[in-house]
Symmetry: C2
Subunit: 351 residues, 2 copies
């Protein structure tokens, strides 16, 4: 059996899943569902693979994992850079693992292909949690499209849950549509804020407040306390401007000090209240079903595009049409119709 060293330099045995050829899915799945973190990591790598030959096997793994019932909660965490997301996740995650929960931390960062890795690029940002046997941290890989990010993250959540992780934290930095994306795949959406610092405006301008189930003002310590109190009043008032949520949950405003471990328990208690309410009124399950339907439709649409634009005949013609459009020698509509007719000359079965 293969042996390698883990982050702490300790020798670890690798499960017998990578022999000569590709990973054996049933073997990988069995190791994963026992909670084997190496198997989980390998499964995620398979999902992240952009090689076509890995695609079907990744789907097989996901389909198997989807059969496993999980009593998980998926929590999205967002906030502008500098708000202290990693410190909060370190404190919050450790609080949960200490009560015996298994916690997975994922990152959605569509910007990383541009900025070459930013959030969670380095596990040292969460030193304590990274060494915690009850925690699993997965950095964000470079991704080229938001569609790719969505697909990968949804499937990674499923794998983590199959591996027994009951709290899945999905971290995102406020870039482009990543918050909307994360919101579409979690049960609870938590917005981290700072008091003062003009951060209020940044949060407001992109409609994130509308999605938030809670606003947690971080760095509520030392000289900051007075500003935090003011900000809480302000945010509570701002939240009142939004129409009530369908699930009957009223978004709450809390404060915490991740550094001093203060207020972390209150965040978890709030989430438990949210769970109790939405499981009672049925919205928890309804939301998951709606998300799954959405996932289904998105997958179909993504695949339609992927298959279409991946065809050799289409690829060859795309540049040609884009150039003609730039030269004003063809209209965008005419170019679209020519391209579509090119792809399925006989199969146009619109009634």
């Amino acid at each position: 059996m293969a042996v390698k060293r883990n982050e702490l330099g300790q020798k670890v045995q690798l499960p017998k899943i990578r022999r000569q050829g590709p990973i054996d899915i049933p073997v990988l799945f069995n190791a994963l569902k026992k909670g084997d973190k190496t198997a989980l990591a390998q499964g995620i790598t398979l999902i992240e693979s952009t090689r076509n030959k890995d695609f079907e096997r990744a789907e097989e793994l996901v389909t198997r994992c989807l059969q496993i019932h999980s009593n998980s909660i998926r929590i999205g965490i967002t906030g502008v850079p500098g708000v202290g997301k990693s410190t909060f996740i370190e404190a919050f995650g450790t609080y949960l693992t200490q009560m015996g929960k298994k916690v997975a931390v994922l990152a959605v960062d569509p910007s990383s292909s541009v900025t070459k890795g930013s959030i969670l690029g380095d596990k040292t940002r969460m030193e304590k949690l990274a060494k915690d046997s009850n925690a699993f941290i997965r950095p964000s890989p470079a991704q080229d499209s938001l569609g790719g990010v969505a697909k990968r993250t949804r499937e990674t959540i499923i794998l983590c849950e199959a591996a027994g992780f009951e709290v899945v934290l999905v971290e995102t930095v406020g870039v482009g549509q990543s918050e909307t994306l994360v919101h579409s795949m979690v049960d609870f959406f938590l917005l981290l804020k700072l008091a003062g610092a003009g951060d209020e405006l940044q949060g407001l301008k992109r409609g994130i407040m509308e999605m938030a189930d809670a606003l947690v003002i971080n760095k509520a310590d030392g000289e900051n306390l007075k500003a935090v109190k003011l900000a809480m009043t302000e945010f509570k008032r701002a939240l009142h401007l939004y129409p009530p949520k369908e699930n009957a949950w009223s978004p709450e405003v809390l404060s915490c000090s991740s550094l001093n471990n203060l207020g972390i328990d209150a965040v978890w208690e709030m989430i438990l209240r949210f769970l109790a309410l939405t499981k009672e009124n049925g919205h928890f399950g309804e939301n998951r079903i709606a998300q799954n339907k959405n996932w289904f439709l998105q997958t179909v649409e993504e695949q339609l595009k992927f298959q279409f634009f991946g065809r050799e005949t289409i690829k060859r013609k795309m540049d040609h049409y884009l150039e003609q459009i730039a030269n004003h020698t063809i209209s965008p509509v005419a170019a679209a119709h020519e391209l579509l007719n090119l792809s399925n000359p006989g199969t146009d079965e619109i009634p």
Copy 2:
């Protein structure tokens, strides 16, 4: 030759374009390019038609219109309900027609299918402009999808330009993604605001400020003047928070009184400055080309979806899969793959 009465009750002759059968496209096109408003209206109705048999003929008309060179400017106008959009457009449009310009007013209102018509549903909102021979006003039809709205509006702009309308005003109410949509099809994006009234927040929360080329504070009259001055300072400061635009244009903050016709000329002068700058540095043309490329890609993607989900075999299976997903008897990914395989059993040519 057919005779009907126009809005003012005057007898007008209809061009000989609708005989027994459907409208003859070359005849319609010839009338339209001479500036015939009835022909223009009929052309737009053809574009808005959801009947499949009208589709190809509408495209033929658009393709013909796209050949006509136009020196137009497309201006998007947005603002929350009550900000005075119609009064502003009435004043601004009349100012332009009085200097001999031909002005078309279109509306993008994806909400109208839900709220049953709101903006521009009634021409009486712009009484003066509606009677102006140099103006053409087109109310927003009920639409079911944002994709449909986008397609229709882009093509309507082309028809108006072919008919000699050199200023195209595209009005939208701030619902959903309609602003982003309008921003993607205009040269200049104008955000109407009110002083005070908490309107600042509403504008900020959806990222509209980032898209605006100008903020115009309306109703700068009477007792409101002091609040307007304050708001202008505030907005100018807020605009400074955004990174500079690629086209080198610095968004401006103006105020006007549409009611008293004050400051309307300054808005047009600002737009002329914008035109001079962006035509000089090439960004005007580059933006149009980028918008056309985007239009091309969107058309391809819309049509791909339309063709796929319009197939009888797919329609029959969709409900089945959605139900299975709700019952947790199939995974979203597996359902998507089954549906895709159903549609093209033999044509899956991913390498």
